[in-house]
């Protein structure tokens, strides 16, 4: 066994994860709640209004972080899907199971806030442009993974089917990202990229960055919490879980 495979198996041990992950959960939770509070108060109360959109642009502080996170979670789920198929790692399968409904909800936030922002800005709650349509596809991919896992009774088959859909669906992520460049969309292109100066002043983009990290951190806490429950449920017959539950009750 190669060193990488050994490391993967140790990492993939549910017990190893459970023993180590409590501080991660607390850390992500504290950082996430703090940053989201700061970024939201700043974005709503102190960032200047937009010269074209007025105050409606403030929706950006929940819309962009949730939309970005929705894509990133899907990619993470796709990577976990590969680990499930290639290495049969339990923890990766649990990650897909826990992340799919969370990603679905976060994509829901992106779609809802986008629709609400679209109404005063474009004059319509919904338009079928490439960006909005590809994000709707992302939402249905998440729904598909949740549904697949529930529809297939045998856990290993359900896990493999969900992993395959997670991997195949990642094709949609670059389409979402580049849709605003490849097609003529009503949706505006990215205001902030790694390669160019931001198209807004620091008083606007700093709170966006704060909420961005806040969303990632808070949702990381939720995923870790979900994974810990998943470990307790699936390893319920293991002696260490019984011992742990015995101490918890």
């Amino acid at each position: 066994m190669g060193r990488f495979t050994t490391w993967l198996h140790r990492m993939g041990s549910p017990r190893w994860f459970f023993d180590l992950s409590r501080p991660w959960l607390v850390g992500f939770l504290v950082v996430g709640l703090t940053l989201l509070t700061v970024g939201t108060v700043w974005g709503l109360g102190f960032a200047p209004p937009d010269y074209q959109q007025g105050d409606s642009y403030r929706i950006i502080y929940v819309h962009v972080p949730s939309a970005h996170l929705a894509e990133a979670l899907y990619v993470a789920m796709g990577v976990a899907g590969i680990v499930v198929l290639v290495w049969r790692m339990k923890l990766a399968d649990m990650f897909v199971a826990v992340t799919a409904p969370v990603g679905m909800a976060i994509t829901g936030i992106a779609l809802l806030t986008g629709a609400i922002w679209g109404r005063p800005t474009w004059g319509a709650w919904w338009v079928w442009d490439a960006r909005t349509t590809s994000v709707l596809v992302l939402f249905f991919l998440y729904v598909g993974i949740v549904a697949l896992r529930q529809a297939i009774p045998r856990a290993d088959q359900a896990g493999r089917a969900a992993a395959i859909l997670a991997i195949v669906g990642t094709v949609n992520v670059p389409i979402i990202k580049y849709s605003v460049d490849w097609w003529l969309t009503l949706h505006q292109p990215a205001s902030i990229t790694f390669t160019a100066a931001p198209a807004m002043p620091p008083s606007m983009w700093v709170p966006l960055l704060i909420n961005f990290v806040g969303f990632y951190s808070l949702v990381a806490a939720f995923v870790v919490a979900g994974l810990r429950n998943e470990v307790l449920q699936r390893e319920a017959d293991a002696q260490w879980v019984r011992d742990w539950l015995g101490r918890a009750t």
């Binding site: 909800a105 829901g108 806030t113 609400i116 922002w117 939720f222 919490a225 017959d237």
Partner: protein
């Protein structure tokens, strides 16, 4: 204060967007707590080798 709430006439949209976002985030955060409570409760009632806990 009312000026802040009005959001330059876009108050409905801004507050609806934030309200829905944080409602969904709150639900996502509560779910693991509810599941955890159910797992511990099942264990306490001696679900017998975790069969009950697995349903949670």
């Amino acid at each position: 204060m009312s000026e802040f709430l009005a959001m330059g006439g876009h108050g409905l949209y801004v507050w609806l967007a934030y309200g829905l976002s944080f409602a969904v985030l709150a639900a996502l955060g509560l779910r693991p707590l509810v599941v955890r409570r159910r797992i511990v409760a099942n264990a306490r009632h001696g679900a017998g080798g975790g069969a009950g806990a697995r349903q949670a």
